[in-house]
Symmetry: C2
Subunit: 243 residues, 2 copies
């Protein structure tokens, strides 16, 4: 096992930023649970694993994975977390397969990385394998997204597209979560369709509002101004899945 | 308007920690939206407001609220956020009124402050005015909880109690969210009852599992190991509210 070098540290830290992840075509995962999920997932290539002194559990890695050893201090320099997780890995960004799908969650300018990760986990729970995101939606390989996805990042594909164009071309019903939509429990969602979730502060974009086929709401009884976007997505996916 | 002093800065920073919030009986809020909600809520006492140079909107404060002026640099020292919000306020912890309630969300060792805030927002949306939390649940006045609650902190009461004792004494049905519970949509939740959400990693405590009256699950179709605790709470509250 080699010791981590200053150049390695610098390179790994550069992957905290989206532009470098895109240029290098890889992203970071941290913690044993995520690493195990990556190892178990076919077609996921782990190029580098960094372990620190405190780490002594056995790993089942491919032979071409570079394994580096880091001190506590070095680990704390490369982590995206407040406290490092004893193991960090560099994973190649998987190829996104074709866009033909019968059901998906669509994200219109979603900005919060935690919401993005939580929505991936919801999709994964309810067996929805595709998320279609507008090009200006938060990056799926943001470290906070990856942590919040709890491993669903390896099972749910995210397609970044011109969302307006994508929706215009689609023949599927588009169920958009809106503040004043028809109560969701009055709807019989079709099995095949698209569930559209808007931006946390502004909801659905005006140009997309024009092309949705159904506006779906979650009736409010109390006084909160809105629900969290991921929670709204969860409520609608749960309803969709029992139909 | 006075300038902020070093002593003020030190004191405000001390309120980032729970033990000091308890000792001083106050907590911090940041941003105009939260401050407006605090101003509009009867019986919420704002003791101090700190503004920075960039801030020029009018505020409608009580006469006894101390207003301090801080530089960008001073603001960045006292904020709990990555980037300060131009306005920060110190608010007295409101008195929690009696524990008699017909419906509530109960939290068993919930640890994530974001989840706590999101659950307050869910409660507020669905008109559930009380949350009963085990004594070892995350602090409701944690800055991350307050941000995630989006103002619901001023409308939903959180009671910290010995949760096992509380549930033992209650005569209400206890609907516990569990991984293997009966599918939620087969249930007719009674209007009066308690919805119990467990710890993010470990679920419901063993001693509490023995006293729940109904174990409620959200059927999984895909492969995620679990749903986020706040999302599960949202799905069950939505179902509860349409019954």
């Amino acid at each position: 096992m080699e010791k981590i070098t200053l150049a390695d540290i610098k390179w790994i830290k550069s992957l905290h930023e989206k532009k470098n992840r895109s240029a290098e075509n890889c992203f970071l995962i941290e913690g044993r649970k995520l690493l195990d999920e990556a190892i178990m997932t076919p077609n996921i290539r782990i190029t580098m694993v960094v372990l620190c002194s405190a780490y002594d559990q056995e790993l089942h890695l491919e032979e071409d994975t570079q394994v580096l050893f880091a001190s506590e201090k070095e680990m704390q320099r490369i982590t995206c977390l407040k406290n490092h997780a004893n193991v960090l890995a560099v994973v190649e960004i998987p190829e996104v397969k074709n866009l033909k799908m019968s059901r998906a969650i669509c994200l219109d300018k979603l900005q919060d990385p935690g919401n993005m990760g939580t929505i991936m986990r919801i999709a994964d729970w309810f067996g929805i394998n595709n998320i279609v995101a507008s090009n200006d939606t938060v990056d799926v390989f943001n470290p906070k997204t990856i942590q919040a996805s709890m491993g669903s990042i390896f099972r749910v594909q995210v397609h970044y597209v011109d969302l307006t164009e994508f929706l215009k071309k689609s023949t599927l019903p588009i169920y958009a979560a809106t503040m004043d939509g028809e109560p969701y429990h009055h709807f019989n969602f079709e099995n095949n369709g698209l569930l559209l979730i808007g931006n946390e502060g502004n909801g659905i974009s005006p140009e997309i509002s024009e092309i949705i086929t159904h506006s779906v709401g979650i009736p409010r009884i109390g006084k909160a101004e809105s629900l969290n976007a991921a929670v709204a997505c969860g409520i609608l996916c749960a309803h969709w899945s029992i139909k």
